[in-house]
């Protein structure tokens, strides 16, 4: 099949774009089981869509292609472009413009009348373009499902007209520019032409865009309170696996861009998280009659979640961190207040405070705790792994930056 910059399915390109964007150091040979031609085609497509944002460097292993962008400098997520590249047939594109034009005057017409109109349009061209009423009928039904057309039945006769376009999109220009980048399923915002250029975004993670189809299906299941069967890519092995869950909430990280589905697992009879970028397919199941009960479980569960880890045993860790701050460094208190998520903050004296919390997996807090290096008087945790890791890591850092004795003075 001849190369085209358009694609039929999103799943394969999703993986390549992720690899180019997140890692960017892999050579062509490392793209595993896929063929060299497949790699070349996908790379060429992405280069066609993203142009200047693609770079490469040569190493002894070959040419490594990567996608790098400071997302603070751009008005819109470039990865959305992949969603603007769906392939179509000659008939799809011809019917699209013909049908919408034939119905543009506001008349409601039958499939037969529309087919007659199409034939009249085609008489302007010498080249034969076979078109029958059943193809037209199929397209009309498809456009009705999309919401572009509205069907009306009178007896046995079905007529179609264009759906009313009463939304004043111009008045949405600023909102569309903003929410395309910040709201869930922002890719839909990129389908509007009316977007201003007044916004930029800091700490702006863009990779989630590639999981939009999965997110849409999960949100659909949540709103319909339905069970879902997930096909999940294993992070360690190569085998995919299935899990059936009752989906309850989407957890989004503003500090990594990762998205997770939280659901009730029927196998484990407890709450589970799965990363959206590891989910390959979502299959909708039956309605969950006990949905409210599981939501009740979640409400209680969420009160002691630091992030998205439950720990292996689903038991609680108690953690306490004593922090010292100097005169004029009261912003440390503000930092603790706004970043702590759970727990309490107690002022011990003018320059010392203690943060305490009970969480399911305190090891998840380690990265945050380390941001207070330079001020941590004491760290205590009922989970010995947490304190051991913290102080061992600290010792390694002392050594790393110049040796145990003289490095950090």
């Amino acid at each position: 099949m001849a190369y085209s910059e358009l694609i039929k399915s999103f799943s394969r390109i999703r993986d390549y774009m992720r690899q180019f964007y997140v890692y960017g150091f892999k050579s062509r040979e490392e793209y595993g089981e896929k063929s060299a031609r497949s790699y070349d085609n996908e790379r060429r497509r992405i280069e066609s869509w993203l142009g200047d944002l693609m770079s490469f460097h040569r190493t002894r292993d070959g040419k490594n292609v990567f996608l790098s962008v400071d997302s603070r400098r751009i008005p819109s997520n470039p990865l959305y472009k992949a969603f603007h590249a769906k392939s179509f047939t000659d008939k799809d594109v011809t019917l699209h413009f013909y049908i919408l034009d034939i119905l543009a005057s506001g008349e409601a017409l039958t499939a037969g009348q529309i087919t007659d109109g199409i034939e009249e349009y085609l008489r302007n061209f010498e080249m034969p373009f076979p078109m029958d009423e059943s193809t037209v009928r199929k397209k009309l039904k498809e456009y009705e499902a999309l919401g572009l057309l509205t069907a009306q039945k009178q007896g046995k006769t079905v007529t179609y007209c264009r759906s009313a376009h009463t939304v004043d999109c111009e008045s949405w220009r600023d909102a569309l520019a903003f929410f395309s980048e910040t709201a869930p399923l922002g890719v839909i915002g990129s389908y509007f032409q009316e977007r201003s250029d007044f916004f930029r975004f800091k700490h702006h993670y863009i990779l989630h865009a590639l999981d939009s189809e999965i997110l849409l299906q999960l949100l659909d299941a949540i709103s319909q309170r339905r069970v879902v069967d997930l096909l999940i890519r294993s992070s360690r092995g190569k085998d995919d696996f299935n899990r059936t869950i009752c989906p309850l909430k989407i957890y989004r990280s503003t500090q990594t861009g990762r998205q997770y589905i939280l659901g009730y697992s029927y196998i484990g009879k407890h709450m589970v998280f799965y990363r959206l970028d590891s989910i390959k397919t979502v299959t909708m199941g039956s309605e969950e009659k006990q949905y409210d009960k599981y939501m009740g479980f979640w409400e209680k569960f969420d009160q002691n979640l630091w992030g998205v880890s439950t720990g292996a045993e689903y038991t609680m860790d108690h953690i306490e961190m004593t922090v010292r701050f100097g005169a004029g460094e009261e912003f440390i208190l503000q930092r603790l207040e706004r970043e702590k998520r759970h727990g309490t903050l107690e002022l011990l004296d003018e320059h010392t405070c203690r943060f305490a919390a009970d969480v399911y997996d305190a090891s998840e807090m380690l990265p945050w705790l380390r941001t207070f290096i330079g001020r941590i008087v004491e760290l205590q945790c009922t989970n010995g792994y947490v304190t051991k890791t913290f102080y061992e890591d600290l010792a390694r850092m002392y050594k790393m930056y110049g040796g145990e004795d003289h490095a950090v003075s």
């Binding site: 358009l6 460097h57 400071d70 969603f83 590249a85 769906k86 939304v167 839909i188 709103s223 989407i250």
Partner: protein, 303 residues
């Protein structure tokens, strides 16, 4: 359906080409220019080819078309449902678009379905009338290219009043805050919108006379050891910055990051958060900052 050709780049470009064909002013060079400007890099080969060959019978040899109306596409149900969902977002108070036409539309999702578990708790007050009024005035000034007088309190509490050219509004999902980026007097001001007490839209400015100062860029090089899934965690965490990664050997990588000088302290604690799996190797000034923190930690710990 999210992935469909009706939302695609080709259909949008064809819409523009056909608009000119209906109006009767389409030419070969205009067609080529529209494709180059609006479509993907390689569309220049395919779109004109299909139109000229007749495999897409939309434009004839004289650049005419059988279409009788300027092509437009109604909104799909998906688009309307997404707009409806946005109306439930507390930040929508800042925009106030015309909601007519969405009355009977079902929202695509509920904000309640999402948990932003690591978002900071002191986000901007989106329901504060003063904040909303200032936001609207900033947007008006941006739209009309007019100067602004902004009265605000600095982070130390001191009152300021400046006349500036608004350049952009910058939003951070992590901080849940808007910042106003401004130009004027060869200086670049970044003002937290929540600190603004009042705004006044002033005279228009000549856009060509305004030069927005760019933030100073810095480079940082780190050595990454892939322990505890560090490779993926680090790559994702810094994925929003311009970066380049090279494998040094199995399990060790070098990553070069480009960051804004004004964000150095933030970057410092983000680097520290990864512990010993990240080692800063350049520049020396940044290494000194880390050493300083570690030295302080040693002193605090010993008491």
């Amino acid at each position: 359906m999210l992935f469909h050709e009706v939302y695609g780049s080709y259909f949008r470009v064809l819409e523009q080409i056909l608009t000119h064909a209906v109006k009767g002013d389409l030419t070969g060079s205009l067609l080529t220019r529209l494709v180059q400007e609006k479509a993907f890099a390689e569309s220049g080969l395919s779109i004109p080819g299909h139109l000229v060959s007749g495999s897409w019978p939309l434009v004839d040899a004289n650049y005419g078309t059988p279409l009788r109306h300027v092509p437009t596409q109604p909104l799909t149900t998906l688009q309307k449902r997404w707009l409806k969902a946005l109306l439930l977002d507390p930040r929508m108070a800042l925009f106030a678009p015309n909601t007519e036409g969405l009355e009977d539309v079902e929202s695509l999702f509920s904000p309640d379905s999402f948990v932003y578990f690591d978002r900071y708790a002191d986000g901007d007050p989106y329901d504060d009338p003063t904040y909303i009024a200032c936001f609207h005035l900033v947007l008006q000034a941006l739209r009309e290219k007019r100067k602004l007088r902004v009265r605000f309190r600095g982070h130390t509490g001191i009152r300021h009043s400046i006349v500036c050219v608004p350049v952009r509004l910058e939003y951070s999902p992590k901080d849940d805050k808007f910042r106003l980026l401004t130009a004027g007097d060869n200086r670049r001001h970044v003002i937290n919108l929540a600190r603004v007490r009042s705004c006044e839209v002033l005279d228009a400015y000549a856009p060509e006379e305004v030069k927005a100062a760019k933030p100073k860029k810095q480079e940082l090089t780190v050595r990454l050891v892939d322990e505890r899934n560090a490779l993926e965690r680090v790559m994702l965490h810094f994925s929003h910055l311009e970066k380049e990664t090279v494998r040094l050997d199995e399990g060790t990588y070098q990553m070069t990051l480009h960051y804004d000088k004004e964000d150095e302290t933030e970057l410092l604690i983000r680097i520290l958060s990864f512990g010993p799996v990240l080692q800063v190797t350049a520049p020396d000034s940044f290494i000194s900052l880390i050493r300083e923190r570690l030295a302080r930690q040693k002193i605090v710990q010993i008491g």
